[in-house]
Structure formats: C-alpha cells, structure tokens
C-alpha cells in the first residue's frame, strides 16, 4: 500500500472531523484515493469501528463482574467470621456463654429452647452446620449482638468454603456432588415438626441439603 503525503494528512484531518462528529463523507474521501491508500485507510476505519464497539461492550459489561469477584474474594465462611467476631468480644472481656445467650435473646428464642440454641450455635461456629441454611432472623440477631454488618454475615453465610488462591470464583461452578465431604449436622430426627430453633438454623436449606 502506498500513500502520498497529502493523502495521509487528509486522512488525519478526516479522523479529526469524525471525532468532532462533523459527519464528513467517507465515501467521497475514499473515492479520490488510489487503491492502496483506500485499502489502508478503510482497514484503519474498519478496525477502529470494530474495536471501539467491542471495547464499549467489554467495559459496559464489566462492573457487575468486578463487584461479584470482589465479594467472592473478600467473603469468608460464616464460621471464620463468627470466630473473628467472638475473638474481638472475648478480648474485650466478654464471656462466650453470655454472648450466645444474648444472641438467643435478640432472636427471641424462648428460655426453654436456649440450651438447644447454644448447642446449634456452637456447631454452626465450628462448621458442623451448613451456614446457607441460617435464617436472616438469626443473622440479624448475631449482627446486633456482635456488632457486625448484616450484609457481611449474609455474604459469609452463602460462601460456605474459603476460596483457595488457585480458584477462579467468577467462572467456577462446582459439579454435582463435588461440593464438600464434611458431614453436616441435620435437624434432630424427631417425630414432631421442626421447632423455632430448628427452623432458625436449617430453615433456608433447599430440599435434599
């Protein structure tokens, strides 16, 4: 391809006019050029138009993925968050049993169910209960008592396992049956219907979990 000096200068003028939105006639400009110049300039305009459109699509689609990645990278599982929150409270001189009792009170758990609540809470805090089943009511109570943002607890509850550095969270989908091997606690097997505390810890788990 060859391009005379004046045609290159004219092409730079054309690019500037296009950028200004002057709508110059590209066809008219191209008509005055020899074949080589026309092919070079048309290739530039084609590539520019395609790349500009592609770039816009990529950048427009990016923000939700960035937020999702951020949430996944920052999220930790609920047992880890509870451990951190408890440590802060214990360091401040608070008593663990008293903390659990206050969480139960905040969740309006009747006195006669408080022992069961404490048992389930202990299991939740060391990972024996799937945090995805925990109800917002319980998370609210933990949030109030521990002074943690409820959104942080919600995020932690829905990310049961800490992501390893090699994992690409935004595109990784676990295969069926791959999710975990740790045996999980189930509501106590009884003849009667699940009670308030059962529902509080296992209420949101889908069937079969």
């Amino acid at each position: 391809m060859t391009a005379e000096n004046d045609s290159i200068t004219a092409f730079v003028d054309l690019l500037e006019a296009l950028d200004r939105g002057d709508h110059p006639s590209v066809d008219e400009f191209m008509a005055g050029l020899d074949e080589d110049d026309r092919r070079l300039f048309r290739a530039i305009l084609n590539a520019r138009s395609e790349l500009k459109a592609s770039k816009k699509r990529v950048l427009d689609s990016l923000e939700p993925f960035l937020m999702q990645t951020e949430a996944l990278c920052e999220s930790r599982s609920l047992p880890e968050v509870l451990e951190e929150l408890e440590r802060q409270k214990l360091d401040a001189g608070e008593d663990r049993e008293d903390l659990i009792s206050r969480i139960a009170d905040a969740a309006d758990v009747p006195d006669h169910m408080q022992d069961k609540f404490a048992d389930y809470y202990q299991k939740l805090s060391y990972g024996a209960i799937d945090p995805r089943g925990v109800t917002p009511r319980l998370l609210d109570a933990i949030s109030q008592t521990m002074g943690a943002a409820v959104n942080r607890l919600l995020a932690a509850a829905s990310v049961p396992f800490r992501l390893g550095p090699q994992v690409e969270p935004q595109f990784t989908r676990l295969e069926e049956g791959q999710q975990e091997s740790i045996p999980r606690e189930q509501p106590e097997q009884k003849e009667e219907e699940p009670d308030l505390v059962d529902r509080m810890f296992f209420g949101d788990l889908p069937d079969g979990e």
Partner: protein, 207 residues
C-alpha cells in the same frame, strides 16, 4: 465509574494504600480500576484481533482478563508489581486455553470465510434483504484480510509509532491521545502523521 484517569502505577498506589486500611474504600478502588480496565481491554482486543479471534471471543477474553487482573489486585491486597506484565501473563494463558480448544489453522481460516457466508441464504442464493451497495463476500474477506495485515504491521513497528496508532485504532480522539501521551495536540497529530507514513511504507514493502 470515575472520570479520573489513573495511570497503572497511580492505581496500584491507591489500591495498596486502601488495602492497608482496616476498612478499605473498595468502591474507590473499583472506580480507580476503570482507567486500568480501559487499557487492559485495549491490549487484549488488539492482540485478539491480530490473532484473528471473532469479536465475541475477543470480548470474552478481554472481560476475563480484566476480571483476572482485578482478582489479582484484591488477593494481593494491591501489591501487584506491574499491571501490563500481569495482564500479558493472564492474556497469554487465556489465549493458550482458547487455541487449545480450537481446531487449528484450518478452523481459523474457515471462520474467516464463514463470515462471508452470511451473505447467502439457506438456499445458497444471495440474500435479497442485503442492501445493494453492501460489500460482497469477496470484498468482505479482502477487508478482513487488510485489517489483519494492518494489525500485524502495527504490532511490528516502533513502540512510539505503535502507541499512537493503537490509540487511534481503539477509538481515541486526537485530544485523548495527546492527553494520554502527555503531549500537545499538534505534537500528537504530527506523531500520528509520521506513524501512518511509516506504516504505509512498511505495508508497501511487505507486498
């Protein structure tokens, strides 16, 4: 996202500073990433285009690379050594995966030709709903080949010329190019003029 255009180094400084806080301002860091993502997208799309990837695949890879860099920034608490180097590392891996999944050279050639096949109906006859002055299949393939030749040539010229040509190809206006290169508008125009002249000569010599 923020209008403030941070350089890669300014962004890494910002991220590092925020991550050293107990409560980092993640929204601020994410907004600062906008300018970085813009440049990452440029690099990825130009490279993918040069490698003849279809637009949708190129966009998919560019998006994944942006997310990969962002993920690296978060996991390393802003302590990424170099955004361009990290970008090229992830891009290289993504492209290797991509080509490993593709059928090879013949497959890429078939993709180029298949773009022209869209001008024909299922009966094998030219589609009548296409405007008469639209480029025909041969012209379309020629245009595409010219574009690919152009991008290969741009990649092979001096870094200074390549910088300004790539900025034009990515849709940058002369004012934006001058701003990003930190030079006067007249100087940007001169550099583009000179780069086009050299590119034209290079293409002429390669024929």
């Amino acid at each position: 996202m923020s209008d403030k255009c941070l350089s890669d180094e300014e962004f890494l400084d910002l991220a590092s500073k925020e991550f050293s806080q107990a409560q980092p301002n993640m929204e601020g860091v994410r907004q600062g990433f906008a300018a970085v993502a813009d440049r990452i997208t440029d690099r990825c799309l130009l490279r993918c285009k040069r490698d003849r990837l279809p637009d949708s695949d190129a966009e998919d890879i560019a998006q994944k690379v942006c997310i990969g860099v962002w993920q690296g920034v978060i996991k390393n608490r802003g302590e990424v050594q170099s955004v361009p180097a990290f970008t090229m590392k992830i891009l290289g891996r993504r492209l290797a995966d991509y080509f490993a999944k593709r059928k090879g050279k013949e497959g890429r050639k078939a993709d180029i030709l298949s773009s022209a096949e869209g001008l024909y109906g299922t009966d094998g006859k030219p589609r009548e709903d296409i405007e008469a002055d639209s480029p025909g299949p041969v012209e379309q393939v020629m245009d595409r080949e010219d574009t690919e030749r152009l991008l290969s040539a741009v990649n092979e010229i001096d870094a200074e010329d390549r910088e300004v040509l790539q900025a034009v190809l990515m849709g940058g206006t002369m004012n934006e190019i001058a701003q990003s290169l930190g030079i006067e508008l007249g100087a940007a125009r001169y550099r583009l003029d000179r780069a086009l002249r050299r590119l034209s000569q290079k293409l002429k010599n390669s024929r």
